[in-house]
């Protein structure tokens, strides 16, 4: 169970995350939605401790994550793997080496500097690459892959971290619909088969509805909605996205990145 209580993060005058309290039971797939700048990314970075909170605490299974330091902090980061919009791979290294970076927190100084990994670790990495269908590209430089392939490598890297939580920060925002679907399918498979809690930031509503057990909607650093996908009403959507300038409502098919749904949902979801 991931418990976030009264967490706050300010950048100067800006309250990026403002007094957020959430409980996320293990094994859930949670979509975090909201417009750009709503604080979704900051929330995920606070959980992984890439950013430190101004106040408030995050705890996981009784451990206070916000107080971790040094090696404990690095092990925590390894156990809540993060996936980024821009993949954040080492483009000049091959795919296998990139995946093995997921083991880095468990290495001593010398072996990590010399890039020495055990056979078990390599086997683990190859199995992870197999799960995302990227074994054939294992020795190719990561920078030569397409965006969708790079994101799948990033997922394989997350898998070898043996994470308890998977944090995905806009994982499909830079991908075409086919690859977006593939990446979201992998995230759901990982969630269902491995029982890993998945927190995914999305800016497309229909993707969140389709894949997530639960939706958290943020606006201006605050949580405005926290519940099942079907409970999210049009009025709430209007509130979250604050579409003052739009004459019609928000057409989910316009922002959609999924393939199958885009055409079929067109008729029944248009809000006029």
């Amino acid at each position: 169970m991931l418990q976030i209580s009264k967490i706050r993060k300010t950048f100067g005058e800006l309250h990026a995350v403002n007094n957020v309290t959430l409980n996320i039971p293990s094994g859930q797939m949670v979509g975090v939605i909201g417009r750009s700048g709503a604080g979704k990314s900051t929330l995920l970075r606070l959980i992984n401790r890439l950013a430190d909170p101004t106040s408030g605490t995050i705890s996981f299974d009784g451990t206070n994550v916000t107080e971790l330091k040094g090696r404990d902090l690095r092990l925590w980061r390894a156990s809540c793997a993060m996936i980024f919009q821009q993949f954040n791979l080492i483009e000049r290294m091959d795919v296998l080496s990139n995946v093995l970076v997921g083991r880095i927190a468990h290495h001593d100084f010398v072996s990590s500097m010399l890039r020495q990994y055990t056979d078990e670790e390599r086997a683990l990495a190859i199995r992870a690459l197999d799960r995302v269908g990227m074994v054939q590209q294992a020795l190719q430089r990561a920078g030569t892959l397409s965006g969708g392939q790079q994101q799948r490598v990033a997922i394989a890297k997350a898998l070898v971290q043996n994470p308890k939580i998977l944090l995905a920060d806009e994982p499909i925002a830079s991908l075409d619909p086919a690859n977006a679907t593939r990446v979201m399918d992998s995230l759901r498979t990982i969630n269902q088969n491995d029982g890993i809690t998945v927190l995914v930031n999305l800016h497309t509503l229909d993707t969140a509805r389709k894949y997530c057990d639960r939706i958290i909607a943020m606006r201006a650093g605050e949580v405005r909605f926290n519940g099942a996908a079907h409970e999210l009403s049009n009025d709430l959507v209007r509130d979250i996205y604050g579409e003052a300038g739009l004459e019609t409502g928000i057409d989910e098919s316009v922002t959609s990145t999924s393939i199958e749904e885009a055409s079929s949902s067109n008729d029944n979801q248009q809000i006029a």
């Binding site: 980061r77 793997a81 000049r92 290294m93 970076v101 880095i104 100084f109």
Partner: protein, 314 residues
């Protein structure tokens, strides 16, 4: 929708006024740009004139012409012919019928010179390696985007600055005083200066990297060293190798002169030839250095261009 808005907008306001306003603003921008241009040209001209006169470029000197007249003329015109005179003095006498013997005479100390040439290159080689080690290790704390904290940043930056500001010849004098005459002083002097110069270049390379891989490593639980090793080094290695070759070229030039103060290499022969007024020795040494530096420049440039294209495996 958008199209309709456009029509309304243009019909409400006279279409010319926006363009007219643009024309006025454009003319103003042009005018002020030209003013800045004129003022800066004048300032540069004045500064150039002042520095030239402080540098003695407008000093006059008395010269006796061929017909015995004494005239006053600018030093630079009076002195230029003497440059040719000096070069002429260094030229050896080469006759066609005894060409090989004459060349042999010209390079009469070739055994000593060859030994010293090898010493010169080895000084440059070892100094470059010392410089690379020091600069590589210090360049990461000396990069604004990578430094663990601002104290380490300031310390490593200032250290690199100091060791590169002191010229190699001054370091060489200090080290000759400490360790005596010989190539060791030269290696240390050039190595120290190279550390400072390379450290600056490396850290600039580091500051221009893409930080996303670094964040990716950090998010997986990598510590500072691992973030550098995996996130930074693969990105910067081609540039680092390229700058290192460039530095080796510069170091060969430095090590060929550093013997002037007793720190090993060909420089000591240059000093001797100058003080003994062995003018033809000077031209022989000059040719040796020119050829060596030329060959090393050529080879290292080709290598550099290949490495820039090569994929780094980190």
């Amino acid at each position: 929708m958008l199209w309709r808005n456009c029509v309304i907008m243009t019909s409400l306001s006279p279409p010319l006024s926006v363009i007219d306003q643009f024309e006025v603003e454009y003319a103003q921008t042009r005018k002020s740009a030209r003013r800045v241009q004129i003022i800066s040209t004048v300032i540069f001209a004045i500064v150039f004139y002042v520095t030239a006169s402080i540098g003695g470029f407008f000093d006059m000197t008395e010269v006796t012409l061929d017909n015995g007249d004494r005239v006053s003329m600018w030093k630079i015109w009076a002195g230029l012919p003497r440059l040719g005179e000096y070069i002429y003095k260094t030229l050896p006498i080469l006759r066609w019928d005894s060409l090989f013997a004459d060349i042999g005479e010209w390079f009469w100390r070739w055994k000593v010179w060859l030994r010293l040439l090898i010493e010169t290159i080895l000084i440059a080689y070892m100094a470059t390696i010392l410089g690379v080690i020091g600069a590589f290790l210090l360049s990461f704390p000396a990069s604004r985007n990578l430094t663990p904290n601002k104290w380490v940043f300031q310390l490593s930056r200032r250290y690199l600055e100091i060791i590169r500001t002191v010229p190699e010849l001054v370091w060489a004098l200090i080290f000759v005083f400490c360790f005596g005459v010989g190539p060791m002083a030269g290696v240390l002097a050039i190595g120290l200066h190279a550390t400072g110069a390379l450290g600056k270049l490396y850290s600039e390379v580091n500051e221009n990297i893409d930080m996303r891989p670094v964040e990716g490593v950090k998010a997986s639980g990598g510590n500072w060293f691992e973030q550098i090793r995996y996130g930074v080094v693969p990105q910067v290695i081609p540039n680092i190798i390229s700058y290192t070759f460039l530095r080796f070229e510069i170091n060969v030039r430095s090590s060929s002169i550093i013997g002037y103060v007793g720190a090993g290499g060909l420089g000591q022969e240059i000093r001797e030839a100058m003080s003994l007024q062995e003018y033809t020795d000077l031209s022989a040494l000059f040719i040796i250095i020119l050829f060596t530096v030329g060959i090393i420049d050529f080879v290292s440039e080709r290598l550099r261009h290949r490495i820039i294209g090569i994929s780094g495996k980190g």
